[in-house]
């Protein structure tokens, strides 16, 4: 029975014709309302951002003050904006580190905690706690740990004077320090989502595998993992999203400068505040959208293959 369930044949398209007239209307509404919200408040503004990226608008006044400057902002961003290169590199590094670190760890923790362990709820709460903390507290927490002058790490390592490590200020290491802090939060996040997914796995599958005498690891790899495929994709995509949008901890430490440049912090620096460079910032945001599109396309190709 387990085998049958696991090696379920690929889904065939459902027959839409079984829907009644009322059902068709219901389905249409169920899709239309959220679509309108997302298109109107996310994609519309996003398109406006793309258009603005070809202007030198400063965010003030009406459209008559908008000058179109062609690709000027993109040219400036790539050739005349020193933080741009590092920002791209940092986002890529972020992505790689998140995949091999916190994402994997979060999945492993979820699998462990999914079993009826003693204290499972307490562990879950502890691992999830960093996710619910406000940014102000997270900033303070890591300041306490990393600070060069008074930080716990330097004190515990017993470093004095010039030997002290400048975790936040040294551009060669501060990104790693931030990755630890960000990974600390990301792990709990992934754990929670994966845990919810594991709960949806049909217990009959495990039971059957256990009857067959499969060990726990084998049960997971052979039985659970394949069923979890859609959730695994969620985890992958979320890691990509989080890595590309990574922003807050770097921002709270030094506004994403001096080794902590990320595309999102550059966008923010240019868009927020007085006399903002909305056009230039929009160009950076558009570049970010373009990079994201690559991952979206990869994801969609996966989905399409699955459906065939």
């Amino acid at each position: 029975m387990a085998d049958q369930a696991v090696r379920r044949p690929p889904r065939r398209p459902r027959r839409v014709r079984t829907l009644s007239g009322v059902d068709v209307l219901t389905v249409a509404l169920m899709v239309a309302v959220p679509t309108v919200v997302v298109v109107g408040l996310v994609w519309g503004p996003a398109l406006a951002t793309v258009l603005l990226s070809f202007t030198d608008w400063n965010g003030i006044g009406n459209l008559s003050e908008i000058n179109f400057v062609g690709w000027q902002n993109y040219e400036d961003a790539t050739t005349n904006y020193p933080p741009f290169g590092p920002a791209i590199r940092h986002n890529v590094l972020w992505l790689v580190v998140f995949f091999v670190g916190p994402t994997l760890l979060g999945v492993i923790l979820a699998v462990m905690l999914d079993r009826e362990l003693r204290g499972s709820r307490i562990y879950q709460s502890i691992f999830f706690m960093p996710v619910v903390l406000s940014l102000a507290l997270v900033g303070f927490i890591w300041q306490l740990i990393y600070s060069r002058d008074q930080g716990l790490l330097n004190e515990v390592l017993g470093l004095e004077g010039g030997a002290r490590i400048d975790f936040f200020g040294n551009p060669d290491i501060n990104l790693w320090a931030v990755l630890v802090a960000a990974g600390w939060r990301h792990t709990g996040y992934i754990m929670l989502l994966y845990l919810a997914g594991l709960k949806a796995v049909d217990p009959a599958l495990r039971e059957a595998a256990a009857v067959d005498g499969a060990g726990e690891v084998r049960t997971f790899l052979r039985v659970i993992w394949p069923v979890m495929r859609p959730v695994n994709i969620v985890i992958l995509v979320i890691t990509v999203i989080e890595s590309l949008r990574a922003f807050d901890i770097a921002w709270v430490i030094n506004k994403g400068r001096n080794g902590l440049e990320l595309i999102s912090t550059l966008v923010t620096q240019n868009v927020i505040g007085e006399a903002s460079r909305v056009g230039f910032g929009s160009a950076l945001a558009t570049i970010m959208i373009a990079i994201s599109t690559v991952f979206i396309v990869i994801y969609l190709i996966q989905v399409m293959r699955e459906q065939k």
Partner: protein, 431 residues
Amino acid sequence: MMNPRPLAGGVSAMAIRRRTLLKGALGAGALAGLAGCGGGDDGGGGGGAVTFGSNWSDEVPKNAIAAMMKGHDAEVSINTVDHNSFQENINNYLQGGPDDVFGWFAGYRMQFFAEQGLVGDISDVWSDIGSGFSEAMKQQATGADGKQYFVPLYYYPWAVFYRKSVWAERGYTPPATMDEFVALSKQMQGDGLVPLSFGDSDGWPAMGTFDYLNLRINGYDFHVELMAGERPWNSQEVKNVFDAWRELLPYHQPDALGRTWQEAAQTLLRKESGMYLIGMFMGQQFPEGPERDDLDFFPFPEIDPAVGADAVEAPIDGFMMAARPRNEEGAKDLLRYLGTAEAEDAYLAVDPNNVAAHDDADTSGYSALQKKSQELVSGAKSISQFLDRDTRPDFASTVMIPSLQAFLRDPDDVDGLTKSIEEQKASIFGG
């Protein structure tokens, strides 16, 4: 879907034409939502309380503002938004129908909004309150068009702060020239002290050092022209500033880029360092009482006798009026009141960490530090605001902060650095 009103009132015919054109050419309606004028409509009528948008969100200044507003004979409804958020969202705030009167800064930061038509002309208020302010103050309240837009409240000078007790113990005396300054720094190093506390994690504290070196080496006029984008950044003059700074770097607290200015203040507090070039607000990091009273300062020393040391960096905070206040009458009355010595006194009685901008303010209650600050500023030939207040804010935050941090990381590549600044300046200032 929410259907935005396609055209707000007040859009010129040209704007409409441009919008239609855009829509047609780009085949997208997305920009429609952007159309329309920014200012809020003033449909609220003339009466009612005056609204005041306050970015004084810290405990002490917030109370001081409340005390100050209480002294006005009409009702003032205060809307306090935390300082940082207010600043980051000022564009939205001013375009979304701001409070009648609101708090802001002097300098280019004020002039910029005046030029954009986002703040109201208050020259008529100045004809009533003008006699209470020095010419320098009035100048800082004046836009590029010669009209006044700003009522100053207080200023806080930047200077080199130190602890009197440490200096008395070691027998240090304030240096007047750069040579003495360097000699003193060396002496402090010999005594096991860090000569200059320094924390630049936020990026802006280093601007103070740059400004003072620039003011002392090239003078106030050069500073103004450089900030206005009229002078090239890759000139020998600017390189001289960076070269002088490099000479001083060995006396700065190391690893400044990972340290906040508050943490740097703690090293001075704990008597681990001898001096700290920072604004007067730093005193608030010291526990009230004997620790805070132990603070003193001296002006940044002279470098070139031909230039002298009579330029002081003293940012001014104050008030502005919305471009189209709902209660213009009330707003101007309030501003007239805010420009009086009584209003200043009411403020400073609660928040003694600044110095009154008004000439007739009561100085009898001043602390020694306040008195000295007042003398420093009134004796100054010229007053600069601060790098991020004297130049375009986008240039200051997206170009200068990263560039100064790059210099601190790698002080030897001044040529490359200044060239890069100049190129980025050209793209921001528009050539």
